[in-house]
């Protein structure tokens, strides 16, 4: 056992409660009240501001290669991006990305 059972349960409960409060925060407390226009203008960009930052390190420094930049993964990400932006198809983009990755891994002899 890596740690005491009590410590573990403290972590589980605090993490569960804390994460819930983070999720509930604005949606729970602001509710139906009108937000000022400048605020709404910023909130419109939350998704496109968070997701690219979330993805970037996973693409450039993947854990699976020990953080080493991998050409196959870069090209796979690019393929998914291009199909996604052109055809607005999530399934299509996922397929394009994963097939590019498998194809390149096969060609480069990594698989």
């Amino acid at each position: 056992m890596m740690t005491s059972t009590t410590t573990l349960w403290i972590v589980i409960i605090s993490l569960g409660l804390g994460t819930y409060l983070i999720r509930f925060s604005f949606l729970g407390l602001i509710g139906g009240r009108e937000l000022p226009e400048w605020c709404l203008r910023h909130l419109r960009y939350v998704a496109v501001a968070v997701m690219p930052a979330l993805i970037t390190p996973l693409v450039i420094w993947p854990d699976a290669t020990g953080g080493e930049t991998d050409p196959a993964r870069l090209l796979a990400a690019l393929a998914a991006f291009l199909v996604g932006i052109k055809y607005d198809s999530v399934i299509g983009a996922v397929f394009a990305g994963m097939l590019t990755l498998y194809g390149l891994q096969y060609l480069l002899g990594q698989a």
């Binding site: 890596m2 740690t3 994460t19 960009y45 998704a47 501001a49 693409v59 994963m98």
Partner: protein, 236 residues
């Protein structure tokens, strides 16, 4: 909730979020395996997965526990990974804010990267949808992936086998998020925000506790809002 319009919105959310099965299943499986190897019993593993329902934070907590980090550091570091969800919570206010407190409380629990990203994309495309339809769509997204997250964690904990590395399913995570984000980049402000988000994430990658993510997101949001204003002024 039970009018036909909501029912169809629920199923379209369910369908639209289903590509993420590819992400959630191997990731859940892996968490079950890693947690069990770290010495958590079935009850502990499952309670964590059901209460926290956020993979990245759960892995962070496990790794720090194994390093014997002080309890408070484990909690703070794992919560820092989840702080981005405060932004999701705020971004959902204009769409789901009118709901009853109880419904908002339940929706908050299911607010994960996938349900948020898929729903917000839909809300941008369908700004006239009534709130009942929007929330049905959101719960449809949650129904397609959250039960899988629990089941695959359970499976991983019981079987102790994750999917072999050769399948490179680790990369399904960025691929799926790219797939969902790319179509949103069709206006200049959205594109500008996304580019800045990538750049700042790279420049600030040295920051601890996922602070780079928050910094990148806040700066990118401001760039998006600024660009929108700038375009509006030029057109007027």
């Amino acid at each position: 909730m039970f009018i036909p319009e909501s029912k169809s919105a629920f199923w379209s959310g369910f369908r639209d979020c289903s590509p993420f099965i590819l992400v959630v299943s191997p990731f859940g499986l892996l968490f079950g395996v890693v947690a069990t190897e770290a010495g958590l019993n079935l009850l502990e593993t499952m309670t964590m997965t059901v209460l926290v329902i956020a993979g990245a934070a759960q892995f962070t907590a496990l790794a720090l526990l194994e390093d014997q980090a002080p309890t408070i550091i484990v909690i703070i570091a794992a919560l820092a990974v989840n702080l981005r969800m405060a932004m999701y919570s705020a971004a959902l206010v204009p769409h789901l804010g009118e709901l009853s407190l109880g419904t908002r409380a339940i929706a908050s629990y299911f607010m994960v990267d996938q349900t948020f990203a898929v729903s917000i994309k839909k809300y941008e495309q369908q700004p006239t949808w009534p709130v009942t339809r929007k929330v049905a769509y959101f719960f449809g997204c949650a129904a397609s992936i959250c039960p899988l997250w629990y089941s695959f964690t359970l499976l991983g904990a019981l079987v102790g086998q994750s999917i072999p590395k050769e399948f490179s399913l680790d990369f399904a995570i960025p691929i799926c998020f790219i797939a969902i984000t790319a179509p949103m980049l069709r206006s200049l402000p959205h594109l500008a925000a996304a580019l800045v988000s990538v750049l700042v994430a790279l420049l600030l990658a040295w920051m601890p506790y996922n602070l780079w993510l928050l910094a990148a997101a806040i700066i990118a949001m401001m760039v998006g809002a600024r660009t929108e204003l700038w375009i509006a002024r030029r057109q007027s």
